[in-house]
Symmetry: C2
Subunit: 255 residues, 2 copies
């Protein structure tokens, strides 16, 4: 007997601006809603749940979000699914690649790590072509402090000080994460990109890390403040210096 | 006696999308109109003409347009002019730098050359974050043909086949230009950038060059077609393959 459905794996990119994050919303403005609406139009109104690797916040971009969805077994090849989906999606949301998933593949549970990139413009005037794609930090940063701060945060730590509470989907007691790398490219006076690679991230963690690193690199707090925030004996200390969403992009999900 | 005015030199960047090009327009939507309106608000309604290095078309971006303007001699320092102007401009138009011009400086007549960059995305799906910043060319280009075409066009030629007629400001008999370099970065399957460096460019020349190079690199015409278009004996042959405005940016003006 032929199987009645087959699992598609999608590589997705979006400009976060027009969406209310990845997650389905009551008003239908989540990226997930847009994808599920496109599948419904292609499948006679049937609602197929689209499972992402994880959420992205309102306004956060994605260069390589991954999702899976079980589609009715038809003769459509993956490239045909891709073309048909893109024909029903707004241009700010695109399926870059489409292929059959290996048996049992799950976009969220199989994810082994993620790469995020935070872009900021560190100069007095914000270049118009960076609008919506970077955070404007006019005060000149100290490059040595920036690297020192990034160094302190790298490794396995309890990142509870760098997380925002979320209704569900995150165990408040499980806030230890391994942050494999914070890469710093560019330099003060121009575009600076921070690349975060880790096995998993807490809610708003990358934006809170970026905001706190920038706070230190502006000389507003010593780098030791970050060490204190990581020290589990100091809980429930929190940082509230979250960098804005528009500078952040989910670059890649590792499997 | 104190001079009554002083010449400011501006370095300007804009996202071309909301503007009807550099040049003043009857509807006030030219970049020049926006700048002159900002000066008028800062100078009690006085209209100060802003002279640019040259025009850019509707939708074309600028990373480094240059202009000069004679301002009333006040105690404002150039950085104060910059801040005041930016406070009165929309975020998609910014004065990046402001300084006193050397005596006799003229943004247009003193320009010794310009650098333009054309960005195109050469893959089946257009990434959302490239919207408005690149041209989507889905058919895979041939990298060798691309470089060959760029090579043919480099040098001193009569580029009349690669120009659009314009009401004024360009002598139709003077269409010989020296194109110093067409740099090609990136590769088929992703982002490709063509960098044009020359002493001067005809109206729509960069977009017509780009469109024609891409036409060749798609295998639709042999590279020899470009040589024929450059041959003055073949005038008035024309190419109509203009690449769209949103992929083009004026990068720098050389003085």
């Amino acid at each position: 007997m032929e199987p009645t459905s087959r699992r598609l794996r999608l590589l997705i990119s979006y400009d976060g601006h027009p969406f209310r994050g990845w997650q389905s919303q009551a008003d239908g403005r989540g990226v997930q809603d847009h994808l599920e609406a496109a599948f419904a139009r292609l499948c006679g109104g049937e609602r197929l749940p689209v499972h992402g690797s994880g959420r992205t916040d309102t306004g956060v971009h994605a260069l390589g979000q991954v999702a899976h969805v079980d589609v009715p077994a038809t003769r459509l090849a993956p490239e045909q699914w891709r073309a048909a989906l893109n024909a029903h999606l707004v241009p700010k949301l695109r399926v870059l690649e489409c292929r059959w998933a290996r048996p049992g593949f799950h976009a969220r549970f199989d994810a082994k790590g993620k790469v995020y990139r935070y872009r900021l413009w560190n100069g007095p005037v914000f270049p118009p072509l960076e609008l919506g794609r970077a955070w404007h930090v006019p005060v000149r940063l100290d490059a040595a402090l920036l690297r020192e701060a990034a160094q302190i945060l790298t490794g396995r730590h309890d990142f509870r000080a760098f997380s925002a509470s979320r209704g569900r989907g995150q165990d408040p007691a499980d806030t230890v994460r391994h942050l494999g790398r914070i890469g710093v490219t560019g330099k003060p006076g121009g575009l600076i990109a921070l690349t975060f690679e880790g096995e998993g991230f807490l809610y708003k963690m990358v934006r809170l890390l970026t905001g706190s690193v920038v706070y230190c690199a502006q000389g507003k707090a010593p780098a030791s403040w970050l060490s204190e925030l990581l020290d589990p004996r100091n809980a429930p200390a929190k940082t509230s210096h979250a960098a804005p969403a528009e500078g952040l992009a989910l670059v890649r999900v590792r499997y």
